[in-house]
């Protein structure tokens, strides 16, 4: 009797063991034929224009699937609208992991939104490639499964000041920024450069995101006698300050960050005042002849003709490219660990964004380059530099 019971117990333990090892071997979101990935992005609400990023990634997924996928596996892409509300973003992250069971998260617009999900994703060892903001939060402290792509705003501002000062010879530089974390990272970079070279910032003017009357701001900038003004603001702020400056006849050399690099859109909302602007870019220009860009534009016509071919849209491709490169390098035996190892071999990989390197570096900041362009009066862009390394 005793022996019989023992056999049963033994069998039970054995099946548990088998079941445990079986489930431990299976990789979440990866089957023989499919890999599940997800992204959140605001499709509604005030930040909706940025939602194009998440739909751009969809285009890349469709393209890759059309070519037969990677190592025999096609991708299933889940796009969720978080309306830029952190509480929703976290719910989406949980849905991705606990219910859909995705292999990885790709992209994701917003700092506050992404920050509610970051620790949760990392604790559950979910790979996350290319959050769509250039802030330190993604790389400090280093997260094993998080690979950042977007060049850091702080370094971008530092380098842009250098470009204006050294290459273009501007002596009197002023700064206009929006009073938030994004704007402050811009100020930080500009001041860091000027302090290093012992130059005085002639004026520093900030505006609230909700401010609608920027006439005194423009007057302050004019009175400072600045030859060049760097602005770190959202599209509305940029349009308002340009409008007010034009009204009082203040025409310095303006320069701004890559977040305002959609010059077709900016030309429209500034009613033509955007011409002459110097902008940094984290990706090829919309009409670039880069072979990949030609390919992507064709795919755009084929799979998503209803979308506007703008910077936000194909940024969704830029931020996802390194993730797919990692999947390619990981080979048929795709696991979270093999993907991380594969990502760590990436060196000078370049799609249509900046050259990406994760190999041999201490942090997880892949993108460290931008290039500069000047907006022509018709809204098209003249590329004035090659890729420049901004993060040392």
């Amino acid at each position: 009797m005793m022996k019989k019971n023992l056999i049963w117990v033994g069998l039970l333990v054995f099946t548990f063991f088998i079941a445990a090892t079986a489930s431990a071997q299976a990789v979440r979101g990866v089957t023989d034929t499919e890999i599940l990935i997800g992204q959140w992005g605001p499709q509604t609400g005030p930040a909706a224009p940025w939602g194009a990023v998440a739909r751009g990634t969809d285009l890349l997924v469709k393209m890759i699937n059309d070519q037969g996928g990677i190592h025999g596996r096609k991708f299933k892409y889940f796009l969720r609208d978080d309306s830029y509300m952190p509480a929703k973003t976290k719910a989406i992250a949980k849905e991705f992991v606990e219910q859909i069971g995705v292999f990885a998260v790709v992209g994701g617009v917003g700092v506050a939104t992404g920050m509610t999900a970051r620790d949760y994703l990392m604790e559950n060892k979910v790979p996350w490639g290319g959050p769509v903001t250039g802030v330190y939060e993604w790389i400090h402290p280093i997260q094993k499964y998080l690979f950042a792509v977007y060049p850091l705003y702080d370094d971008e501002a530092f380098n842009m000041t250098g470009y204006l000062h050294e290459k273009l010879g501007f002596k009197k530089i002023a700064m206009f920024y929006q009073n938030d974390d994004y704007g402050k990272q811009g100020v930080m970079g500009v001041e860091r450069y000027l302090l290093k070279h012992k130059i005085k910032l002639v004026e520093k003017v900030s505006a609230e995101v909700t401010d609608r009357d920027l006439s005194t701001h423009a007057l302050k900038l004019k009175n400072s006698g600045a030859e060049a003004v760097i602005m770190w603001t959202n599209p509305t702020g940029a349009a308002l300050i340009l409008g007010e400056s034009a009204k009082i006849g203040f025409k310095p050399q303006w320069a701004t960050s890559s977040t305002l690099s959609d010059s077709a859109l900016m030309m429209q909302i500034t009613r033509g005042l955007w011409g002459g602007m110097i902008t940094s870019f984290f990706g090829e220009l919309p009409d670039s002849n880069h072979p990949l860009m030609v390919k992507y534009r064709e795919a755009h016509k084929k799979f998503a003709p209803q979308e506007r071919w703008g910077v936000f849209y194909y940024a969704g491709i830029i931020f996802a490219e390194p993730f797919f490169e990692g999947v390619r390098r990981a080979g048929r035996n795709l696991t979270t660990e093999s993907w991380v190892k594969a990502m760590e071999t990436i060196k000078d990989f370049q799609g249509i964004g900046p050259p990406i390197t994760y190999a041999g570096i201490k942090d997880r900041q892949g993108g460290k380059h931008v290039f500069y362009g000047k907006v022509r009066p018709d809204g098209s862009i003249e590329r004035i530099t090659d890729w420049i390394r901004i993060t040392k």
């Binding site: 509604t44 952190p86 949980k94 700092v111 509610t116 970051r118 620790d119 402050k184």
Partner: protein, 353 residues
């Protein structure tokens, strides 16, 4: 039956054994709910969503004390919610307070501000009060944004809490939040039935008559604001910890309006109503998007939306359905979801008549 013979019978929590039994069954249901969710993903729920629902329910119950019972209005409850969230996080983060002290403190900080906001409410009514409270909500978040102490515009990361040495997960928060939610619900039911609640209702029905009967308007109006803000503050503290990261931008006007909508859709002037409202609206807000995963219907709706509305796809449909449900409820059932419940109950009680 429903005849009350004395005051104490009226303020009893459980009016009959039936209610007592159902309440106990409901508590048991709450206790085992996580197991069902984890095992079967009931209705696509996750424990996090249930936690969020419960937090919203606490705010809605508090707001209903103000709106449904006292007849005042607040469009600034996101401000109290934010105050609670930031107070709780700062207490735990900077001065290592335990959560069970930080939460009530957060509640009292909010209620202090609620008291202050209650003062102008003595002179303002209707739309004027709405504007004043709206201004309050926006001011609070702007002040928080401007002060580095509160983490500035960037916000704060809530510290990871531990329970007997293991980091707290959603399931642990679930029981913490549920205990608090149940206690606060009972608190609201009791409050409404006692002297204070009756004074609130008298003010709602006619503040001049109430004053003539000896209800101190200054005291009770500010008290209503303070109590309501206390609920929002405690809920805000919980919200910060289940989210893990808070930033002032997320406590915006839309959030205040959503809270108000939860109360109206759920049913003004009842305690169960706001709970129903919070449940329905939070759930729909998060889960309506899942329509796109239903085979055939999903892709068809996405195409429809992209063709005739905007490129955003399923979100258009989700927003329309969300709005439509709200309109229909308010239009056909002015008492909200709770009204449905009352009618259904009456129908069964009087059946077959």
């Amino acid at each position: 039956m429903d005849i009350k013979r004395n005051y104490y019978e009226d303020i009893e929590l459980f009016k009959s054994n039936t209610i007592l039994v159902w309440s106990i069954l409901f508590l048991i249901f709450l206790a085992i709910l996580p197991w069902f969710i984890m095992k079967y993903h009931l209705l696509g729920l996750s424990i996090y969503i249930v936690n969020l629902i419960a937090v919203h329910a606490i705010v809605a119950i508090g707001l209903n004390i103000l709106v449904g019972f006292t007849g005042q209005i607040s469009m600034g409850h996101a401000g109290f919610f934010a105050l609670g969230a930031f107070t709780a996080v700062i207490l735990v983060l900077r001065w290592s307070f335990p959560l069970w002290i930080a939460l009530p403190v957060a509640g009292f900080v909010s209620s202090a501000f609620g008291f202050i906001l209650g003062l102008p409410a003595l002179r303002l009514k209707g739309p004027y009060l709405a504007i004043a409270t709206l201004g309050f909500g926006m001011t609070i978040t702007t002040i928080i944004k401007r002060m580095e102490f509160f983490g500035g515009r960037m916000g704060l990361q809530a510290p990871k809490l531990e329970l007997f040495g293991t980091p707290m997960k959603d399931i642990h928060y679930y029981y913490v939040i549920m205990v608090i939610a149940v206690l606060m619900t009972i608190g609201a039911v009791k409050l409404i039935k006692t002297r204070v609640g009756r004074a609130f209702i008298a003010i709602r029905d006619s503040d001049i008559a109430a004053e003539a009967m000896g209800v101190n308007l200054t005291y009770y109006k500010t008290l209503a604001f303070a109590v309501s803000a206390f609920y929002a503050g405690v809920a805000g503290g919980l919200y910060a910890f289940i989210l893990g990261f808070i930033n002032p931008e997320s406590f915006h006007l839309i959030m205040s309006i959503t809270f108000l909508a939860m109360v109206v859709v759920g049913g003004l002037g009842s305690v169960m109503g706001p709970i129903c409202g919070a449940t329905l609206m939070t759930y729909l807000d998060i889960k309506l998007q899942a329509i796109q995963d239903i085979s055939l219907i999903g892709p068809a709706l996405v195409t429809l939306s992209q063709k005739y509305m905007s490129i955003a796809g399923i979100s258009n449909i989700a927003v329309i359905v969300y709005g439509l449900i709200m309109i229909l409820i308010v239009l056909f059932e002015p008492l909200g979801i709770f009204g449905f419940w009352i009618r259904t109950k009456r129908y069964w009680k009087t059946w077959p008549f």
